[in-house]
């Protein structure tokens, strides 16, 4: 059936092009116009015009928004599937169409199309493959045929230099999530009819919420192929279609059920919707369930510049947060700066914690007045930085040497052994921390005991950590008697 009237999904006149315009900007014999019309008709028939958000690419169809009387977004080159993903995640009921050329989708945008397909975004992609860059005047596309002359392959595409034409439908077919993948052609009236069906199906599946559809449409670009429209169609069936087989690669929607079991998994996961929290619920969530108790307002005798150092896994960073939280509970200012990144992998870890009565300026500690050294390398690294009169607490279970400095106070604590005695080697850090707080009388040990329950991540270890604090105090009493 030939329709003479414009589909309702098109504007009556194309004012965005120029006032009163009725013709498109496409060249005579161009396939884009045909595809536009097929899409517009399908939109009409499905009654989804108000819901459509049409994504136009960079390429000759960049101005698709001149024509489609729908919501329109013009995207950057190749990124329409990512833009469409953003839209899809905001509006569940919108009909999201991504319309792209072969430079756009098969060249610059391969990453975005593959990953949108792989996420199974419920969108419909129309991929217009005309084997050339139309808009920029006829350069090679990834789909340009071997030997085909273009502005950038003046002697013909050379597989040895440029590789062979890329089959995007085949690539998408290697991805499990899409529901529908078909390649169609505009080379004949029959091909157009099949295209019409494919366009409809791709949109219908989206309306039904089935997932990702990919329709590759072989399409003529007579101007840049330097052929008449008639020659173009002949060339398509003679040359293009043998390289890009016209076929349906996947139709998991036709049975009403996705055929791929992995698809079921995808659907199952995707359907688990978490309700949108109201403001009150959100604020509660953000405040967490372990608020730091307010204990009292403490005045420190001096700023505590504490460096805690050891190897990864010794709880150096968490020991630092424990100390900082104690500070906050005491109403003083606290900052915590970790070592981070690759340095931490198997290597040294350290945290710098500052406690101060005043607002903290630099969080960086150049010269600590307390060093909690969990292992030998950290003592080696930081011993000389400690200010004269400062304190070094040494984990003597692991560090066999003595501190060289004679202008600092030193406590040797077999922290790892004490912790092992309580079956909690990982809590050696808490022992050094306890001893430091006790020795310098920074704050009551009670504070530490109140903070441990809100600071230790795994609640089953809270009791053991509290026991460890007592063990540390016991040990401290034995050495302070000496």
């Amino acid at each position: 059936m030939i329709k003479h009237q414009k589909p309702a999904a098109f504007y009556d006149t194309f004012e965005r092009k120029e006032p009163e315009a009725v013709s498109t900007h496409y060249c005579p014999g161009c396939g884009h116009g045909t595809v536009h019309k097929l899409i517009a008709e399908a939109v009409d028939d499905l009654g989804i015009k108000d819901r459509v958000i049409f994504h136009s690419p960079v390429g000759c169809s960049v101005f698709a928004y001149y024509y489609f009387d729908t919501g329109n977004i013009q995207c950057s080159h190749g990124r329409a599937p990512a833009v469409a993903t953003g839209v899809r995640r905001v509006h569940k009921d919108a009909i999201v169409i991504s319309y792209q050329g072969d430079g756009d989708l098969a060249g610059i945008g391969t990453s975005e199309i593959i990953h949108a397909a792989n996420r199974g975004e419920n969108i419909t992609v129309f991929f217009v493959n005309n084997a050339i860059y139309g808009m920029t005047g006829g350069q090679m596309a990834p789909t340009t045929l071997q030997g085909q002359k273009t502005l950038t392959t003046p002697t013909g595409r050379d597989a040895g230099r440029d590789g062979l034409p890329i089959g995007m439908a085949e690539i998408i077919n290697a991805v499990s999530s899409p529901v529908y993948i078909e390649r169609v052609t505009l080379s004949s009236a029959k091909g157009v009819l099949k295209t019409r069906k494919a366009v409809r199906k791709g949109l219908k599946y989206q309306v039904e919420g089935r997932g990702f559809s990919f329709i590759e449409i072989l399409s003529p670009c007579p101007v840049n192929w330097k052929m008449t429209p008639v020659e173009s169609r002949q060339w398509m069936s003679d040359k293009l279609e043998p390289v890009f087989p016209v076929t349906c690669f996947r139709d998991a929607g036709s049975t009403g059920n996705p055929i791929d079991s992995r698809l079921d998994v995808h659907k199952a996961i995707a359907s688990e919707e978490i309700p949108f929290m109201n403001d009150k619920e959100l604020i509660t969530l953000l405040n967490g369930d372990s608020p730091i108790p307010n204990i009292e307002i403490l005045q420190l005798e001096e700023d505590q510049l504490v460096k805690i150092a050891g190897f990864g896994g010794q709880g150096v960073l968490s020991c630092g947060t424990l100390l900082a939280k104690c500070g906050i509970a005491e109403g003083i200012h606290a900052s915590w700066l970790p070592s981070y990144g690759p340095e931490m992998r198997g290597g040294k870890a350290y945290a710098s914690v500052i406690l101060s009565n005043d607002e903290i300026g630099s969080p960086v500690i150049d010269d600590p007045n307390v060093l909690l050294a969990m292992n030998g390398p950290s003592l080696d690294a930081f011993e000389n930085d400690v200010v004269p009169g400062g304190l070094i607490v040494v984990n003597s279970s692991i560090i066999t040497r003595k501190v060289f400095r004679d202008d600092v106070a030193v406590l040797y604590i077999p922290a790892t052994d004490i912790a092992a005695g309580e079956d909690l080697v990982a809590a050696a850090n808490v022992i050094l921390l306890t001893v430091y707080l006790r020795y310098k009388r920074v704050m009551p040990i009670e504070t530490l005991k109140k903070i441990i329950p809100v600071s230790v991540n795994r609640k089953e270890f809270v009791a053991a950590n509290l026991r460890i604090v007592d063990k540390a105090l016991e040990y401290y009493e034995t050495i302070s008697q000496l």
């Binding site: 108000d50 990124r79 905001v90 999201v96 403001d279 604020i283 969530l285 906050i328 981070y340």
Partner: protein, 359 residues
Amino acid sequence: MSRILMKGNEAVIHGALTGGATHFFGYPITPASEIAQAAAKYFTASGRTFLQAESEIAAINMIYGASSAGARTMTATSGPGLSLMAEGLSYLAGAELPAVVVDVQRAGPGLGNIWPEQSDYNATVKGGGHGNYSNIVFAPNSAQEMCDMTRKAFSLTDTYRMTAIILSDAYIGQMMEPVDIPETVISGERKEWAVYGDAKSRGNLITSILMKPLEMSNHNEHLQHKYRQLEEDCVEYEEYGTEDADIVMTAFGICSRLCHTVTMIMRKEGYKVGFFRPKTLFPFPGKAIKRLAEMNKTLAVVELNTGMMADDVELSVHGCSEILRYNWLGGIVPTVKELAERVAADLKKSGKSRKGGNV
């Protein structure tokens, strides 16, 4: 209200959600990854959307889509990712789409390293991508400000239809400090220009294309006008001790923390040192800086880059006063002592009075 000890990076997400953000698209990169991780936790748990994109290019374009669709949306990255987002930032500006982008700066160029630098100043304050455009740029210097500035950014970007960049650095992002969680949520409203996939918004078009030079020119004028308006309405800065100072330490981000400490210490020692910190880098507090210059203050601009903000300071003061450039690169952060010695030496050299200031 409760105070929670958290990383600046995590605080961003608390600010975002209480600022009405609903969609986060991100790609991991040190030292910004905790932002995406916190988003994955809190956006998801609260029924908002977190999605890990396949690249920063995809992330910024997902933002382009979500923002077109009317959502309050954001991402977070560091240098290499910011470079990949340049085209997207330009498109956002061209199409006048609101968005929030957090840049936790690391050292560059190239893969560089993950220690703090402030060398994305030009790439953010001067736009970053192609064309004549600007972003709103906030420069937080604490975990609390990571939260508060992000929260504020969402309303501002909606009002001005611009991208706001939270220009942080590795230390401000990685550092933990107590943060007061805001008690209310400022949600976004329906935007009459966005596409919602409904009848009411059907005629809407999001594009950065204006084919006629005159129209493109007018659009550019419109953008520039908006940027000038921002300078009237939204400049933020903080200063301390500038009234009697001979030398004013001028810095943003992590450097402003160091300079704050140096200022306090040196004033106690009797040096006439002041402190000036832009909290917004675009709009830039050029007028306030000019005022200091006119009072004949020496401005010592302390940065972890080659002097990018110092260039803007020079432009603001027009040779009215002496500008000193203190720069560190590669992830090296000066010690407080080093900085103080430098200031003392420069004060001596300039022959300005050294001591006698009040704390």
